[in-house]
Amino acid sequence: MLDSLLALGGLVLLRDSVEWEGRSLLKALVKKSALCGEQVHILGCEVSEEEFREGFDSDINNRLVYHDFFRDPLNWSKTEEAFPGGPLGALRAMCKRTDPVPVTIALDSLSWLLLRLPCTTLCQVLHAVSHQDSCPGDSSSVGKVSVLGLLHEELHGPGPVGALSSLAQTEVTLGGTMGQASAHILCRRPRQRPTDQTQWFSILPDFSLDLQEGPSVESQPYSDPHIPPVSKNAKVDPTTHLTFNLHLSKKEREARDSLILPFQFSSEKQQALLRPRPGQATSHIFYEPDAYDDLDQEDPDDDLDI
C-alpha cells in the first residue's frame, strides 16, 4: 500500500519523529511521482536545495520544480529575492492552476509552516490546494493533486495535529523496531471505512522504496520460549490466558452495584439487630466432653461490672 499512497490524491501526512525520520520516505515518494511523469513541486523550508536534491540522479532533478524558502524565509537580507508572500503565497499560487497534468506538491516541512503560520490559515490553504480536483464545474480540466506534508509529531500539540489529520486523506506514521522502519498507514477513502495497515520498508541509497516483511520473530531478543510467538499485526491482549475472570457480566455488575457494604450502618441493619428474626435459634451445638475437659459452670466474667 505504501507505493500506492499517491494514487488517491489529496493531503498525505507523513508523521515522523526524532528517532524515525521521514525525509527519506518523502524523497522516495517524490522520486516515484517524478518517474510517473507527474509535475512535482517542492516547497523547501527546512533543508537547503542542495541537500534535498542529494541522492537523486539528474533525470529526477530536472523534473523537480524547487521553491527555495530555506535561504531567506523571513527576508532578513532584504534583497527581495524571496517569493512575495512567502511559502503561503507559493501554495496559494498553486491553487490557481489549470493544468490537466496530475501534480504532486511536497511540503518540507509542514511543521515549519505550522510553527510560523496560524493553523487555521494553513488548513484553509491546504484544503483549497488538495481539493482542487474535486470542485464542481472545472473538474474535468484540472488533474489530480497530491500534497505530501512532512510533519514532526513532537513539535505540535494535539489540536493542530488533529486539525491536519482530519484534512488528510492518508496518514502515514513512521516508527519501527530493531533498526527496521515501519509505516502505519491510515487511509480514508470517500464513502468507505478508513483502512489501516502497517508496512515494513527500507529506503535504498537511490531513494527507491523497498517493501519488506518485517523483523522475523526468531530474531527478537529476549524471546521467552514459553510464550508462543505473537503474529506481527495482532496486539497482545494481556487479559487472555488468565486463571481469574477480569470481566463482569451485566447481572454481576447490577448485583455488585446494589450490594450494601457490610459495615455501613443503615436503618435496616439497626432494626435487624434489635429485633432478632424468628427462627434464628435453629442451630444447636452438640458437645461431648471427654476425660480431660474441665467443665466449670461458673461464669468467669461474673465479677466484671458491665
Binding site: V18, S24, E46, G55, F70, D72, S111, H152, G179, F207
Partner: protein, 274 residues
Amino acid sequence: MFVELNNLLNTTPDRAEQGKLTLLCDAKTDGSFLVHHFLSFYLKANCKVCFVALIQSFSHYSIVGQKLGVSLTMARERGQLVFLEGLKSAVDVVFQAQKEPHPLQFLREANAGNLKPLFEFVREALKPVDSGEARWTYPVLLVDDLSVLLSLGMGAVAVLDFIHYCRATVCWELKASILYLMQGNMVVLVHDSGDAEDEENDILLNGLSHQSHLILRAEGLATGFCRDVHGQLRILWRRPSQPAVHRDQSFTYQYKIQDKSVSFFAKGMSPAVL
C-alpha cells in the same frame, strides 16, 4: 578535546565532517564538558570559531581550555576565535548607548521579535576575509546555550529562526563575489527540562533535534548521583547522506569526568565496579 570522545564519534580534528549541526543536550546533569570538548576540538582543527557564550565568562572557558591544551587568549588575538561574552555585553546593551544594533539588542526591547542582530553578528564574524591565502579551514559556530535565550524572553520559534539562518549561512552560503561554499559546522547546547513541563523548551529541543545530524545527550543516572559514574551519554546519528547506510544509530555510554579528560565506558563497565 577528549580523545576517547573522538574515538566514539569516529572523528579527529583533521578529518571532521563539514556542514553538520551537532546538538548537545543535557538532562539532570551538566553537559558543559561537551562544549569545552568541541571548542578545543575545532580550535585544534584550525577552524575559525565564533563562540556565543551566554552562560560563563571568557576566563572560565579559557581556564578549562588550557587544561585541554588550547589557549583561548591567543586564538582570540590571532583572529581565530570571535568570542561574544554574553555576561559582559549584556551590561553594555543596557548602560551604553549603542549606535548600531548590538547582538544582544533583544534585551533592551520589550517585544523583540527576532534575533536578527545576533545573526548579523555571527555572519560578520564568520565571513571569509579576502586575504590572499585561506588561513582557516572552515567556520564553526558554537552557542552555549540556547535555553537561556528562552529565559531572556525570546520565543522558541524566534530561536529556531535564528538557528535556521545560522545554518543557512554557516553551513550552506555561497558568497556573491567568490563562489565559496562555506561548509561550516554548528554546535549548540540546549538544556532538557525533563519533568518540568516547559513547552517552549520542548519545542526548541525537538525542533533542533529534527534538524541535527548528530545529537549528544548527557543524562544523569536514573538512580541518582554516583562518585564514579557521573552520567551517561547517548549518541544519536541522524540524517546520513546515504539512507540505509547506517540507519539512525544510537549508542549509550557512561562517563566519568576527571581533571583533564573524560573517560567513557560501556554501561555497567565502570572500572570502579568491575
